[in-house]
């Protein structure tokens, strides 16, 4: 393993059984590495397996096959007791700050919970002091300690969720669509906060988003997923300025630009419907929607290969 790799995912698959015969192929044979102190964005349309992959990486979901390593240890199938020390190093922030916070708990108790679980502080008073520290780190204050989640706006609730996620000084945080439910002005406040915390505490993020427009600012690298498979992975600017996988191009082209001068006469529109992950297409999973698909794409699955300074899984770029 390379020195600066924090998390390594190898041939990871997650399947959800639907009946004795059918199953959802949510994540299929995914391999990737997250480097220490980097922000890796995971993008793709809803249902493509982003949350499942993110959760499997921190063992909130048990993978069907494959392996996840954290630093030097393989954490898949690690006994619960041994895993406890790893658990605290890996946290998650969810999209809907309301659903993820218990409405009957005060802000102090929400943030104190992980601290108490791990006996971080000697006394309740110390715990409260640490909670105040955390509130201040996310732009809230001691005034907010004894309020309840429902008394806060969406942006503030997301701040509370973030304070809780950083309470145990984790090294890795899965940010699962943390700004998708927020208005743009607030969304930017939270993105600034996440970036600031990442730099200040040397955090590593897997930043999940179905919206490519919000990841350019925060991500060092971008990984594009389609129907449980990786399509393209590379440095953020490489992906934005020179996307190679047809799906990446469609995704980028589809973002409506806040500038009427950049309206397109003819949009590049994806044809057809999203195939089902219960019965994914043979060969390249994107081939049913891809305007460049050939016979090879229908039968042979493309591997991730290095092309022009990034990894891409597409037969268009075979030799």
């Amino acid at each position: 393993m390379q020195d600066n790799t924090l998390i390594k995912v190898q041939d990871l698959s997650v399947e959800f059984p639907l009946s004795s015969k059918k199953k959802v192929h949510a994540v299929s044979d995914v391999s990737l590495e997250v480097k220490e102190h980097e922000v890796l964005a995971l993008v793709g349309e809803s249902g493509c397996g982003k949350s499942t992959l993110g959760k499997a990486m921190i063992q909130l979901i048990k993978p069907t096959a494959g392996e996840v390593s954290f630093k030097d240890a393989v954490i898949t199938n690690m006994p619960a007791k041994a895993f406890r020390d790893y658990r605290r190093q890996m946290q998650i922030v969810f999209q809907d700050p309301y659903a993820s916070l218990d409405p009957r708990m005060s802000v102090r108790d929400i943030i104190a919970e992980p601290l108490e679980t791990y006996n971080v502080c000697a006394t309740p008073k110390e715990t409260t002091e640490r909670v105040v520290e955390l509130l201040e780190a996310v732009g809230l204050s001691a005034d907010h300690l004894y309020r309840y989640a429902h008394q806060f706006s969406g942006g503030q609730r997301q701040r509370i969720g973030i304070a809780r996620a950083i309470a145990l000084n984790p090294s890795f945080i899965v940010c699962d669509e943390p700004v998708s439910a927020l208005d743009v002005s607030v969304q930017n406040q939270i993105l600034n906060l996440l970036k600031d915390l990442q730099e200040r505490f040397g955090l590593t993020y897997l930043f999940i988003s179905h919206d490519l427009s919000v990841v350019r600012f925060i991500a060092n690298r971008v990984c594009v997923m389609f129907l449980g498979k990786l399509c393209e992975l590379g440095d953020t600017e490489t992906i934005y300025t020179n996307p190679l996988h047809p799906y990446t191009r469609f995704l980028l082209d589809a973002i409506p630009k806040a500038d009427p001068h950049r309206r397109r006469k003819e949009r590049m529109l994806l044809s057809g419907e999203l195939p089902s992950p219960v019965d994914p297409p043979s060969g390249c999973r994107f081939h049913t929607r891809c305007p460049y698909a050939t016979e090879k794409c229908r039968t042979q699955e493309p591997e991730m290969k290095p092309v022009e300074g990034r990894m891409v899984a597409c037969h268009l770029y075979a030799e």
Partner: protein, 324 residues
Amino acid sequence: MEKMTLQVNDLCTSFFTDKGEIKAVNHVSFDVPKRSIIGIVGESGCGKSMTARSVMRLLKYPGKIVSGSIAIEDKELTALTEAEMSNVRGEEISMIFQEPMTSLNPVMKVGKQVQEVVLLHRKVTKQEAKKEVIRIFEKVGISEPEKRYECYPHELSGGLRQRVMIAMAMICRPKLLIADEPTTALDVTVEAQILELMKNLRDEIGTSIILISHNLGVVAELCDYVHVMYAGRIVEQAETFELFDNPKHPYTIGLMNAVDSLEKKQGVLDTIPGTVPNLLDLPEGCSFEPRCGKRCEKCVECVPELHEIAPGHLVRCHACGQEV
């Protein structure tokens, strides 16, 4: 003079709650010219949906139109009886929503649901109605329309469900289609398809459209004219190119900077400080004043009027002078 499909004049809609009156729509006026797409944009809670629901007269208790007029061509909607209004709905004005699931019957085949609308408004046989449904399904880009006709809503993707809603809304060729965040729940690739479809409906059938969105990109892409709402009021309105080329209201500028900064490589993103005011407890002056970098004394004292600063470009701001 330009022909108008809809004219909304000085509309006020409030919710009368235990805690007091919430002025969700506060002296809102706008016109929808024939064959045009007008946008209403603003962050959540600013009154976009309640403006739309007022036009449809679909407000839920304790919401109520307090004053103002709403006219479709020459018909004053606020004066109609509920029975007359229900004829207007569907035939003259239709509305589609962010989440089609909430307006579709989950236990009825989607084709049947659209067929019922046809039978309700037209004297045709069931067979004819079904044919018409298949035709409109094709028109709104539903592939294999006969097969989809027999599907239940949950068997369709979000994008297809929205197409079914559009089919249902368009089947009587209404003069006006109100689309309230029609693509917000959809992925960008599907959003692009739906926006394209709405543009085609306008171009081919000539329906006027009110497109409501929190997304500046969506309105920039499609609208001829844009209204920016903040805390229940329109704070700026202009032809789309004029608005994006010369935004004047500090709120509009703040929104645009926030979006633009996402594309620039910079250390910190632009934001608008603070949060939207509580509509129960609006400031006496300009409601944007607490968050505004250009505020002066006057802004605290009184609400600015919407005034024209260039032909067709109106701004509600004390700091934006008359520039014509």
